[in-house]
Amino acid sequence: MAADNDTISGYAAAFEGFEAALNGGARSPLHARRREAIARLQEHGLPTARFEAWRHTNPAPLASGCFAPVMTAGKLSAEAIRPFVVSAIDGPLLVFADGQFVPGLSRVSDLPDGVQVHSLSAPGSGTAAIISGNLAALTLGAEHGFAALNTAFVRDGAIVTINAGCTVDLPVQILHVSTGQAGLTTPRTLVVAAAGSRASVVETFASTTSGAGVLTSSVAEIVVGAGAVVEHTRIHLHGAESLHAGTLHVTEAQDARFTAHTFCLAGRILREDVHTVLRGEHIESTLNGLSLPLGDDHVDNYTTIEHVAPDCSSHELYKGVVGGRAHNVFRGKIHVHQAAQRTDAYQSNQNLLMSDDAEINSKPQLEIYADDVKCSHGSTTGQLDPDALFYLRARGVGLQQARGVLTRAFAGELVDRLQHEGLRNHVERLVSTRLDAVLADQGEAR
């Protein structure tokens, strides 16, 4: 039970109000999931500082005090979302304002063959089974109380399904925008990629304001079918004061190839739990992450890769460039079950401290129950290589520019891993802009 009973009873009361306003929707299968979730939340509560999983991130700002769920979406214009949309991708686009689908700004017709996109509030024919079969199936049991909070108050979300054997060339874009209304918003995404399909999904979290008082509790669930190839990109561009607790849960079937990219570019507190389960043989799974906190930002990437079946490989690379008094946390757990023989897992966490006051915590955690495995990890933290800085300066490049060149090269490794050129250029611009701000935030350093 959470220490903060008032918070939970606040959410329970809010749930009653939410339920009363559903006007008949309370009988839907979706609402049955919400009820399970609120019951779970009441039973297990939200994390406290005593939770081992929250050792380096004080959950109090997120978990202490009830954030009233935002019930009506604020206004959003095409102009306001323009910076967040990858203009080079003329594919499916789902836009959500404060968690609610905005059809007028979205692009959900004339889709490529084999892909269906729907909003949870207005599911299309045939998706009901997908929802009842998959939604919350992965996350209801999660240790992360925020996943239950999201499910309890979820009103809308993106559902993307890709038919067996179909290749969707253009990434599907999902844009979750906060209009700055204080309180809780609950973006939700479900991706089901059937056997042998190929697809890429990009989720951007953005805000049109500084986001003071905004708590976003997001959940994305991805089902990767046998032999499917799925790339999932999350871009966090929250308001500078925003709070975010996110969960990404992935289940992978045999021969699947899954890659996740997480770019934590803005937000006051960003906690991201990523959990992928490799259930079949010969899966290749990759988790990439880049965090660029500055000022008093706090970013915590809490990742788990679970090898259940034999002969799979996983690669994980998380990097941070940390300015100001910011704090960057990485936890990378690789859990190799006894049956998962011949697992090949590699993890790396690299951080650049751009100021004397910046702080990082890096924790690899290998739990290995099989005897024939290859698991390794590495973690480095430091400052820019002084020899490389001098080399650049000796060629006429000024100190500040040289720092920029080296930092961009460091971060660029993760940008370069994005497959789609339009997406890569978009993220490169965002990262470059953010790095300028991180580089300028050197605290007391020279």
Binding site: D385, D387, A388, F390, Y391, L392, R393, A394, R395, G396, V397, G398, L399, Q401, A402, V405, L406, R408, A409, F410, G412, E413
Partner: protein, 260 residues
């Protein structure tokens, strides 16, 4: 062009340079030779502005300005170039970007327009031919995975692109086979004009068969103990450094004032 007067420098509290005096006029090539640990590389790095070294005494004037007062990038922009003994690997920064960024900084400082990607390609192709480097290097991260010889050619390539007034080559010949040596020397000689000068720091006389110096200086114990023409290098090749060490010690003993 360059006037070094009584230059003293330390690294982590240890004095390495103990009063260097050297004058380089426009168009001159000076070779600096000496045994290991004599301070040759320190001198080169101090002139380029490496902050691992602290100048404790003395002055360096470069084209009538105080060189020691300039940041490393300003020295480079004003035409001082150091070819590194150990070129640094920079993962994620490709050679073309590195070269063009440096060139544009130098051009801006000269009051010239920045060069665009198209013109740069034409320029770099010509310069790469000069040092017999393949264009594929342009796409590779700076020095990453380069062989020793490739790194040195890459240094000379940078020099050819930046066209410095004063080039300082820090043991650019070390570890090179005879072909690479010829290529490196050719690059240096191409750049040599009546206005441009070079300081060639080397361990061996070998390089000086290709780059013919006007003066040869022997650096020993942090001081220049002997200067001469190119024939001095040949003498060193024949006799080593011991005879100079002995003569210097003897000279010091006779000139030492009584009671000191």
């Amino acid at each position: 062009m360059l006037k070094i007067t009584n230059l003293h420098a330390t690294v982590e509290g240890t004095e390495i340079l103990k009063g260097i005096n050297l004058e380089v006029a426009p168009g001159e090539i000076h070779a600096i030779m000496g045994p290991n640990g004599s301070g040759k590389s320190t001198l080169a790095q101090v002139l380029a502005g490496h902050d691992a070294f602290t100048v404790t005494e003395g002055t360096v004037r470069y084209e009538n300005e105080d060189l020691l007062d300039m940041a490393p990038e300003d020295r480079a922009r004003k035409g001082v170039f150091l070819a590194f003994q150990y070129p640094v690997e920079i993962p994620g920064v490709n050679s073309a970007y590195f070269l063009r960024t440096g060139l544009n900084e130098v051009r801006k400082a000269r009051g010239e327009e920045e060069i665009d990607a198209y013109d740069f390609l034409a320029l770099i192709r010509a310069k790469m031919a000069l040092v017999e480097m393949d264009e594929s290097f342009l796409k590779r991260s700076v020095n990453e995975g380069f062989s020793g010889g490739e790194k040195k050619r890459h240094e000379v390539l940078q020099m050819a692109v930046l066209e410095p007034r004063l080039a300082i080559l820090d043991e650019t010949d070390s570890g090179l086979d005879i072909d690479a040596l010829r290529v490196v020397a050719n690059g240096v000689n191409q750049l040599h004009t009546p206005q441009n000068s070079a300081i060639v720091v080397t361990h061996y006389q070998r390089l000086l068969e290709y780059i013919v110096p006007d003066y040869v200086h022997v650096l020993m114990g942090g001081r220049i103990v002997r200067s001469g023409g190119k024939e001095l290098a040949l003498q060193l090749e024949d006799r080593g450094y011991d005879w100079i060490r002995e003569e210097t010690a003897a000279a010091a003993a006779t000139t030492q004032p009584a009671g000191a």
